[in-house]
C-alpha cells in the first residue's frame, strides 16, 4: 500500500449538489476517509477502488480488450439507421462533449437523464 495522500477541496459528484469541500484520504487504490461528505457522499467515495473488479470489456458475453470493444461499438453505431446516445449523468463534462460530438457525427438521437 502506497503512502496516504490527502486531497483538499475535492468535488463529490454523487448528487446534483456537487459539494466541493470534501477532504479525501486516499492510498491511491482506496479512499479511506471522506471528511465533510454526507452519508451518500461517503458511500460514493468509499465504495470505489482501484482494483480490477470487472473485465476491461465484454462483447457478446465474452471478455475482450477495450480496443476490440471500441471497434465493435463503432461498427454497430455506424451501421445503425437511428442510433441513440443516452445517459451522461455520472460522467465528466469532457466525456459529455465527446458524446454530443458522437451523436452529431452519427446523425443520431441525443438525450440525457433530464428527459426521464
Amino acid at each position: 500500500m502506497s503512502e496516504l495522500k490527502i486531497i483538499n477541496n475535492a468535488t463529490c459528484t454523487f448528487c446534483g449538489c456537487v459539494c466541493d469541500d470534501i477532504q479525501l484520504h486516499s492510498d491511491g487504490n482506496r479512499i479511506h476517509k471522506a471528511v465533510k461528505a454526507c452519508v451518500l457522499g461517503k458511500a460514493w467515495f468509499l465504495n470505489h477502488t482501484g482494483d480490477k473488479k470487472y473485465p476491461d470489456a465484454i462483447v457478446d458475453g465474452k471478455e475482450t480488450s477495450v480496443e476490440e470493444a471500441i471497434q465493435v461499438s463503432a461498427d454497430l453505431l455506424y451501421d445503425a439507421d437511428m442510433p441513440l446516445v443516452y445517459g451522461m449523468s455520472n460522467t465528466t463534462c469532457e466525456a459529455q462533449k465527446e458524446c454530443v460530438a458522437l451523436a452529431d457525427q452519427l446523425c443520431g438521437l441525443l438525450d440525457s437523464h433530464t428527459s426521464l
Binding site: 439507421d81 437511428m82 442510433p83 452519427l106 446523425c107 443520431g108
Partner: protein
C-alpha cells in the same frame, strides 16, 4: 378525379420522415418525379419509392395505405387537396397545414394538426397527444381549422390554440386546452384531469361529467345560444352536440383563475 396511391411496402424499422407527401408537392409531378422525392429513414437520405409503391401522378388527391405508425409528417404544411389514409399513421400528421382535407381510417399519433392555420383533419380511430397544439416554445397552437377525432386523445389537446375547433369522441387525457387562448374544444366523453389548466380565453365543452380544476369558479347553468349554432355546424360531420333546453343545461365554470383567465368550461347536465 385522378388519385395518387401510395402503398407502404413494409413498415420502416425506424421513423420515416415524409413531409414531401402533400398534395402541394406532388400536384404537378410525374410518377417518376414523385418516386424520386427525398424522405429520411432515420439518418439515411432515401427516395420515396424505397418505401412506397406509387400509382398515379399529377393530382392533388393522395391515398395512402399501410402500417404507417412510424411514418411522420404526412401532409405537413399542405394547403389544398386531399389525403386519405388507411392504416395507423405516425406523428405530425397535417401539422402546420393551411388548407385541404386529411382523413384517416385508423389511429394517428401525437401532434395532429399542430400549429395548423386551416383545413380539416378527421381521424376515425384514436388520436395521440398535443392535437392542434403549439410546438415547444411557440406562443400559439392552431390558429384555425378543424380537427375531429372519433376515438380517444392524449395529453395537452389544443395546447395554446388560438382559434379553430377540436372535437374528441372518447375520453381525453390530462391538460386538454392547456394555456388555451381561443377556439373551441368539444369533448363528447369528458376528460381525465386538469382540463382547461391556465386557459386565458376560449371554450371547452364537455358532454359528460368531468373533473374541474379548483381554480375554476362555477358561474351558473344555462344553454348558451352559440352552442346551438355550433351543434348545427357539427351535424354535417355526424357529431351530435346536445343543446336543447328540454334535454338539459350546461354548467358554466370560468377560469383559469390561476392566470386571471377569461375562458369557460361548459359541462352538460342532462335532464
Amino acid at each position: 378525379m385522378s388519385t395518387i396511391t401510395l402503398t407502404l411496402k413494409e413498415s420502416p424499422s425506424v421513423p420515416l420522415e415524409t413531409e414531401v407527401i402533400t398534395p402541394d408537392t406532388v400536384a404537378d409531378l410525374s410518377r417518376s418525379e414523385i418516386a424520386a422525392l427525398t424522405v429520411y429513414h432515420g439518418k439515411r437520405v432515401c427516395r420515396l419509392d424505397d418505401f412506397f409503391d406509387i400509382d398515379g401522378e399529377k393530382s392533388e388527391h393522395i391515398e395512402i395505405h399501410g402500417d404507417l405508425h412510424r411514418v411522420r409528417m404526412i401532409g405537413k404544411g399542405m394547403s389544398r387537396g386531399s389525403l386519405s389514409i388507411t392504416g395507423n399513421v405516425g406523428m405530425h400528421l397535417g401539422a402546420q397545414m393551411s388548407g385541404g382535407t386529411i382523413t384517416v381510417n385508423g389511429n394517428a399519433s401525437d401532434w395532429i394538426g399542430a400549429e395548423m392555420t386551416g383545413g380539416l383533419i378527421r381521424i376515425h380511430g384514436n388520436g395521440g397527444g398535443q392535437i392542434g397544439a403549439a410546438y415547444r416554445g411557440s406562443l400559439a397552437g392552431m390558429r384555425n381549422g378543424t380537427i375531429l377525432v372519433d376515438g380517444t386523445a392524449g395529453l395537452e389537446v389544443g395546447m395554446r390554440m388560438k382559434r379553430g375547433t377540436i372535437v374528441i369522441g372518447k375520453t381525453v387525457r390530462d391538460f386538454a386546452g392547456l394555456q388555451m387562448k381561443g377556439g373551441t374544444i368539444v369533448m363528447l366523453s369528458g376528460a381525465e384531469i386538469r382540463t382547461g389548466a391556465w386557459m386565458n380565453r376560449g371554450t371547452i365543452i364537455s358532454c359528460q361529467p368531468t373533473q374541474v380544476m379548483p381554480t375554476f369558479a362555477y358561474s351558473g347553468a344555462y344553454n348558451p345560444t352559440f352552442v346551438n349554432v355550433y351543434a348545427k355546424h357539427l351535424t354535417q360531420y355526424g357529431i351530435d352536440l346536445p343543446y336543447k333546453v328540454s334535454a338539459g343545461t350546461y354548467s358554466r365554470y370560468a377560469g383559469d383563475m390561476g392566470v386571471s383567465g377569461k375562458g369557460e368550461l361548459l359541462v352538460w347536465n342532462p335532464v
